[in-house]
């Protein structure tokens, strides 16, 4: 529990970002209900907004990869909600031209090296980014965001070992929301002390309360500082997945009690109360922040719905870089075989 004394306007900014994340995710839910999303593989990060403590500890130029539940992380790093929502709707002016969708949002300009639909898939990429920054002495760090489920992927430990062995400016950030789909973490891990695993591989390891964004920020700041000196770290954010795994999942495997207790650990509510108590912001200020977020995300939703889908021919673009001939469409291949001109 962060002493209210340390609360300041930066903390107010973190509250605002958390609110924007939640408002965004709520609109993603609407997009789906309106039948306007590209598919139903939409993973909301509601309850995990304290990840903002980590994203704010990063600096411009730092890069990151995320898992499939990465909307919140990207908003924390400055992602444009309108282009994100358009991508989730599979539209041409989405971040990935409607080819990636919710699970594959990326933005090279903002250092987002890509969301990944393979659990653990994006983790080793930060090791390579770390090599780039180490060799260039650029002072940048790379952060891998992933869920507790990725703690069971061997590639995580291969990556941790490399980061420690090569003294890379890297952070492994586990957003532990207690579940991988229907499996609570105590049914997927034989031993629940995850920081101990990271320590055994030579990392600075810490766990922070996902209901306390200021604790996350303080812990993340220390770890990122060390990482920039070549001492890689592991941060676990202890949170709770408020809703189902994806839009279809009603979490029948959880009791109402468990859900209400979990949702009681709400980082927004906690921050809100404490900001008010500390006199950093009035109810009116906070209400204004909430209203602005709602308004912004309503616009993002409207934009996504109005945006145009990609044309069929874009399908053949971006398989290889410009300059390499695009793959031959099947129609052309068949024509080259069967058209009279092609026959002897």
């Amino acid at each position: 529990m962060t002493p209210t004394a340390t609360l300041n306007t930066a903390a107010l900014g973190r509250y605002a970002t958390m609110r924007r994340i939640r408002s965004f995710e709520e609109r993603v839910g609407e997009l789906f209900l309106k039948g306007q999303s590209a598919g139903s593989m939409l993973h909301l990060s509601i309850g995990e907004e304290a990840v903002v403590g980590m994203t704010e500890a990063m600096k411009p130029g730092d890069t990151f990869t995320t898992h499939h539940r990465g909307h919140g992380v990207f908003i924390g790093r400055g992602g444009d909600p309108a282009r994100m929502m358009a991508e989730i709707a599979g539209k041409e002016d989405g971040y990935c031209r409607g080819k990636g969708g919710s699970m594959h949002i990326a933005d090279r300009a903002l250092g987002h090296l890509g969301a990944n639909a393979i659990v653990g898939g994006g983790i080793p990429h930060v090791v390579g980014a770390g090599i780039s920054y180490r060799n260039a002495s650029s002072g940048q760090i790379a952060v891998a965001f992933f869920g507790d489920g990725a703690m069971s992927q061997g590639i995580l430990y291969e990556s941790m070992n490399m980061a420690a062995l090569w003294h890379l400016p890297v952070i492994f950030c586990c957003i532990n929301n207690q579940y991988g789909m229907g499996t609570r973490v105590d049914r997927s891990a034989g031993h629940l002390d995850f920081p101990a695993r990271a320590e055994a591989f030579g990392l600075n390891a810490a766990r922070a309360d996902g209901a306390d964004v200021e604790e996350v920020y303080a812990t993340a700041s220390a770890l990122t500082h060390a990482a920039r000196q070549g001492n890689p770290g592991y941060l676990e954010i202890d949170a709770f997945r408020f809703y189902g795994h994806a839009r279809m999942d009603k979490s029948p495997y959880r009791t109402p009690d468990e859900e209400s207790q979990g949702r009681a650990r709400d980082p927004l509510l906690a921050a809100r109360v404490r900001l008010a108590d500390a006199g950093v912001a009035s109810e009116a200020d906070l209400g204004g922040i909430d209203g602005d977020a709602a308004f912004e995300m309503d616009l993002a939703l409207a934009h996504a719905i109005a945006a145009t889908p990609p044309g069929l021919s874009t399908m053949f673009q971006d398989v290889y870089a410009p300059g390499t001939p695009a793959p031959t469409p099947q129609a052309d291949r068949l024509t080259a075989i069967l058209s009279e001109g092609a026959r002897a």
Partner: protein, 332 residues
């Protein structure tokens, strides 16, 4: 004879096999309490307990590796890979371990396991959740490859897979789970290991498997309206492949095409077309045509996704061109 779905036929096969053979166990992510990402294993953990229906951590490589070890020591594991797209993490265990153990060890140690998984497009699940990767398995001696297209095959081919002494990769299609059909537990659609002719016709042979079988059958109906009778053959068991019935059919008609949902380059369609072109050369009136997925990753946009794989219309157009030399409208 019961009307049921592809999903329930698979579930029934697992249930019957587990009842008939106590050595059958299930291991995979979310196969127990959750009941399977696509609901195929719902309720089985209640019937057989957590020792036989094992919810595994998200460790694909070790799941397959554990299934191999269990198979080597007397169990008959059904390992579930939630999406065939994740097979990349398991190819060492699958192709270097499961496939080669019997051979490397001089016949001493078999690996009687089934790898159940599902693939294909249809849910706007994007490039990492929509692939058709059976070609990697086809290219691996020691593995068996089975891909059911009908409700009855979903049941029988899985039951038969669970009697095999060697590893079977059993690939379902996410787009078929809700498909209705007739299950006759006493009569399989055909013999284990053999293709089945799903429709008779003397003008052209359309060879396919999994969900593309249904697009091919739909295309055959369209062709019939144009007076073209297509035979439609379902490969079912792709590795090892018994191509004798295919060769007979192609020699009869002299015209054939092979349809796959996978990226066409390096696909099962390429391999089947190559064999048939070798063996049926003197009987061919026209080249054996491959119709498959575009050579691209699968885009998330529903329209692009649909446009990236063969449709009944495309299959019809190509077949008609092959038989009547009538160029379709899209021909450049």
């Amino acid at each position: 004879m019961t009307e049921t779905t592809y999903r329930d036929a698979i579930r029934q096969a697992l249930l019957d096999a587990m009842q008939a053979d106590p050595s059958v166990i299930l291991i995979g992510e979310e196969v127990g309490v959750y009941g399977g990402a696509y609901g195929v294993t719902k309720g089985l953990i209640d019937l057989f307990g957590a020792d036989r229906v094992i919810d595994a951590p998200i460790s694909e490589a070790a799941i397959i590796g554990a299934a191999i070890g269990a198979a080597m020591t007397g169990l008959r594991p059904v390992a579930e890979l939630m999406y065939v797209d994740f097979i990349g993490m398991t190819m060492d265990q699958l192709a270097n371990q499961a496939a080669k153990s019997r051979y490397m060890f001089g016949g001493q140690i078999g690996v009687p396991m089934v790898l159940r998984t599902q693939g294909g497009t249809g849910r706007s699940a994007a490039a990492q959740h929509s692939q058709s990767l059976e070609a990697w398995v086809l290219h691996t001696p020691g593995l068996r490859l089975v891909m059911p297209a009908t409700v009855n095959d979903a049941y029988h081919l899985l039951r038969q897979s669970l009697t095999q002494p060697d590893p079977v990769v059993f690939i379902e299609h996410k787009g078929l789970y809700t498909m209705k059909g007739t299950l006759d537990v006493d009569h399989p659609d055909g013999a284990w290991g053999q293709p089945v002719s799903r429709r008779a016709g003397g003008d052209v042979v359309i060879i396919s498997y999994s969900r593309m079988l249904h697009e091919s059958l739909a295309a055959a109906e369209l062709l019939a309206q144009a007076g073209i009778e297509a035979e439609v053959i379902d490969l079912r068991c792709l590795n090892p492949m018994d191509d004798a019935p295919l060769i007979d059919a192609v020699k009869r008609t002299g015209r054939a095409m092979v349809v796959t949902e996978a990226v066409v380059t390096g696909s099962v369609a390429s391999d089947v077309a190559a064999r048939l072109s070798e063996t049926c050369f003197d009987w061919l009136e026209e080249p054996i045509l491959r119709v498959g997925g575009e050579n691209i990753p699968i885009p998330v946009s529903p329209a692009l996704e649909r446009g990236s794989i063969p449709s009944a219309a495309l299959i019809h157009d190509a077949a008609r061109w092959l038989v009547k030399r009538e160029a379709p409208g899209w021909a450049a």
